[in-house]
């Protein structure tokens, strides 16, 4: 039997050991990223039948099987940021999310997680966006639309970060085998547009507001370490004014377009043209390109 003093000493020792284990880990540029730098592929499809449109767009890129291997855990990250209903074009369209989830399952994903760190109350956003009901209706145990688990944020050092040296990231997004980015194309007053790179702000913790001071480099840092294996931009309807939250039907334009690319900056670059911008005019997209996140000169992109 240990004496009381021994017991306390041992206990303190194990606490120290445990806290050592919790030292800040480091995130580095993924290998996949470096390999990709050469060839940028882009698929753009138009049509009003959303589920069919999602399938056509992904098929153009070689089908879901080229992104998801059977048995993998996949995170599908739509934009569910705002307490707005579907028609206001503030959140990704529920049918885009649903079809993408189905495609992942068809490709053999073991588990598909859907989440976003919202701006308004998360419960309201999940419901108002229509995404929660749509995914619940799938009634599939492999699909998990959950609220952010407040226990699962962890600080990481960012290797080669230009604006950020360390930030808090959401573990399920980092640990997933594949991450599929499903933003909606919207107007945004500082970064001009909010597209795929901006959508990744939904898998980080911390006080996101301060990122706006150096938004372009911050987003490039985040996207360099949290790699989107596939980006599908929902431009079925886009928000052209009063974004990113919207709230007026006058500001919504129906475009019936989907844009997909394994290279996030490439997808963003094309989406910018929907708003009448050249990719080079949007700082975030340029920063993404410079960080190796895809070709943004659309004439050099292989469109399929």
């Amino acid at each position: 039997m240990p004496t009381r003093r021994q017991f306390i000493r041992r206990w303190l020792f194990s606490c120290c050991a445990l806290s050592m284990a919790g030292m800040v880990p480091r995130l580095i540029l993924s290998d996949a990223l470096a390999a990709e730098a050469g060839d940028s592929v882009l698929a753009v499809r138009k049509g009003s039948d959303i589920p069919a449109l999602v399938r056509q767009t992904i098929d153009a890129l070689g089908g879901m099987k080229s992104f998801v291997t059977p048995g993998e855990t996949v995170v599908v990250k739509p934009n569910i940021g705002w307490d707005r209903s579907v028609e206001f074009a503030a959140n990704t369209h529920p049918l885009v999310v649903k079809t993408m989830v189905q495609l992942c399952l068809e490709a053999g994903a073991k588990r598909v997680q859907v989440f976003d760190r919202t701006c308004n109350d998360p419960r309201r956003c999940y419901v108002s966006s229509g995404i929660q009901q749509t995914l619940d209706a799938l009634n599939d145990k492999r699909v998990e639309m959950s609220h952010m688990d407040r226990r699962a944020y962890r600080d990481f050092d960012i290797e080669g970060g230009q604006a950020l040296e360390r930030w808090s990231f959401y573990l399920p997004a980092i640990e997933a085998d594949k991450l599929i980015n499903l933003p909606i194309a919207k107007h945004h007053s500082i970064s001009t547009l909010t597209l795929g790179m901006k959508n990744m702000m939904g898998v980080i913790g911390g006080n996101r507001g301060i990122l706006h001071r150096k938004i372009a480099q911050s987003l490039a840092d985040i996207n360099a370490v949290v790699h989107s294996d596939l980006t599908l931009i929902d431009a079925t309807r886009i928000l052209v004014e009063n974004g990113p939250q919207g709230g007026r039907l006058e500001d919504v334009e129906v475009r019936n377009t989907l844009i997909a690319s394994p290279q996030i900056a490439t997808a963003d670059a094309f989406a910018a043209t929907l708003f009448g911008y050249q990719p080079g005019e949007i700082e975030t997209i340029v920063a993404g390109h410079e960080r190796g996140l895809g070709e943004i000169n659309l004439s050099k992109v292989r469109q399929v």
């Binding site: 998360p122 419960r123 407040r150 706006h212 709230g247």
Partner: protein, 512 residues
């Protein structure tokens, strides 16, 4: 032998658990309308009914019918609510048990609660409503909301968090297994944090500690709700026999938890129908039957009654004859749908339901922002949480109409204040840094925060910057800009009460 005792305990426990369950349901759960009548406790509360009755303006009297029914039932059965249903009574019975000493013959001051009730009624008629400070149901729910629930969430979340991070074999997987149940049913969606947790806890602990002195001291001597029930129970049809203490036995004087036989010859006003005496009476003489009540005079002193009434009557004008806090400060923000400040304070019974239900944890208990007697009433502290654009929950739970239930469309247009930018601290103004967080979050369809493009000169640099500006006519004061402002500490954009929809014109159009 203890059959009555056990029955009562079972009912007390079920009632307490039912109210706790309603408390846990006092939260947004995926539908705009709450699924259960979560503020039932206060619709049952005759003091809430009195507060609503004595207030100017229209009262939701129809929704308070359970309180009227309760008073009617008290006329028949006596103070059964205190013995069987009152959640504070049950907590006192349970929590006070380890504190109690041997029975003593000290009777307490049963008359005091009647004087207190009288003073409160007269103050309310005069325009100062203080029921909420002493209402046992308010005390119960307020303690639950401001103290116990945050504490419980803090400890439970801390434990789950630690087990998750430490990843201890066997224990951590088990914790992860039960966590979803806790998360979905027992914990708040997000941990709610409140001011005045300590003050609220102290009041509650004092009430519990009084048990050391005497069982149910609070109920015997102070509780104004008990006094109101006592008045109704005086001629109740269900009476205990014997109605006075037996000459050959004094057990009731020490055993009765309310000192009922001791305090008042008739016992009718003090007896809470706990039925314990059916069990402990050695001669088994006690029975409860419908019969003729005795008319033993009330043991209240006329002089004290007059003093209490006069005190109550004078308190209101005394408070009214002071500067209105709204003329001095502009940081008093009430929830959307709150009626005009005077009427609001007369209606609000400080139950804390709105603070529990507030989806953004924006509502906090006031200390003195709205004056001394604004204590525990809800105020919006927008730096901590904002008023969610599409949410109407606080109006749904308010039992007395202090916060009117607004249809969603009306709520979206109700101004609870106005956002004001502090240019000394706002990043684009003060330091020429880029920032748009307030504009990005502004929820009004046509944004109430717009940007002006400015060229600012910093040293010999010329920078093009967007600077935010608030459009007064569009701003509803929801406070999301103040909550989300990335500046450390105090926000660079704050909500002030200027221009709020409910303000009387004399407060806003101050001329000469």
């Amino acid at each position: 032998m203890n059959i009555h005792h056990n029955w009562r305990r079972a009912v007390q426990l079920v009632s307490l658990l039912a109210f706790l369950w309603l408390f846990l349901q006092t939260e947004y759960r995926g539908a705009d309308q709450l699924a259960y009548p979560v503020s039932l406790l206060f619709r049952l509360d005759p003091l809430a009914l009195l507060a609503a009755l004595f207030s100017p303006g229209q009262s939701p009297l129809l929704s308070l019918w359970p309180a009227a029914l309760l008073l009617l039932l008290t006329l028949i059965f006596g103070r059964f609510f205190c013995g069987w249903l009152c959640p504070l009574g049950t907590v006192i019975d349970l929590g006070g048990a380890p504190l109690r000493r041997k029975a003593s013959a000290f009777a307490g001051w049963p008359a005091f609660k009647y004087y207190l009730l009288l003073a409160l009624v007269f103050a309310a008629i005069g325009g100062l409503q203080l029921f909420g400070l002493f209402d046992p149901l308010s005390i119960f729910l307020r303690t639950l909301t401001l103290t116990i629930n945050p504490l419980w969430n803090f400890i439970a979340n801390g434990a789950f968090n630690w087990l998750y991070q430490a990843d201890i074999p066997l224990v951590s997987p088990l914790a992860d297994l039960i966590y979803p149940f806790f998360r979905d049913y027992l914990l708040s969606f997000q941990p709610l944090l409140f001011f005045l947790g300590l003050l609220t806890a102290i009041v509650f602990l004092i009430i519990l500690a009084l048990e050391r002195w005497q069982p149910r001291f609070w109920c015997r001597s102070i509780c104004p709700l008990g006094a109101l029930f006592g008045l109704c129970a005086r001629h109740s049809l269900l009476q205990r026999t014997p109605q006075t203490q037996c000459p050959d036995c004094a057990l009731c004087a020490t055993q009765c938890r309310m000192g009922a036989q001791h305090a008042c010859p008739s016992g009718g006003t003090e007896c809470i129908r706990c039925l314990d005496c059916l069990d402990y009476c050695p001669q088994q003489r006690v029975s409860f039957q419908f019969g003729k009540p005795t008319t033993v005079p009330f043991n209240l002193k006329r002089r004290t009654l007059l003093t209490a009434s006069a005190g109550g009557v004078l308190l209101a004008p005394l408070m009214a004859a002071a500067p209105v806090s709204g003329r001095l400060r502009n940081d008093l923000i009430r929830p959307p749908g709150a009626v005009a400040e005077n009427e609001f304070l007369q209606r609000c019974i400080r139950c804390g339901e709105c603070m529990k239900v507030c989806i953004g944890n924006a509502l906090q208990p006031d200390l003195v922002q709205g004056g001394v007697f604004s204590l525990w009433s809800p105020v919006v502290v927008a730096r901590l949480g904002y008023c969610e654009y599409n949410c109407t929950l606080c109006g749904q739970v308010c039992p007395t109409g202090a916060i009117r239930l607004l249809p969603r469309e009306e709520k979206r247009q109700t101004k609870i204040g106005l956002a004001v930018i502090d240019q000394n601290r706002c990043l684009p103004y003060a330091r020429g840094e880029e920032c748009l967080v307030c504009e990005e979050h502004c929820p009004t369809g046509k944004k109430a925060i717009v940007f002006d493009a400015k060229i600012i000169e910093q040293g010999n640099q010329r920078l093009a910057r967007l600077q935010p500006r608030v459009v007064k006519d569009l701003c509803i004061g929801c406070g999301i800009c103040e909550t989300r402002c990335p500046v450390a500490g105090q926000s660079a954009i704050v909500i002030v009460s200027e221009g709020e929809s409910r303000a009387p014109s004399w407060l806003t159009d101050r001329g000469y």
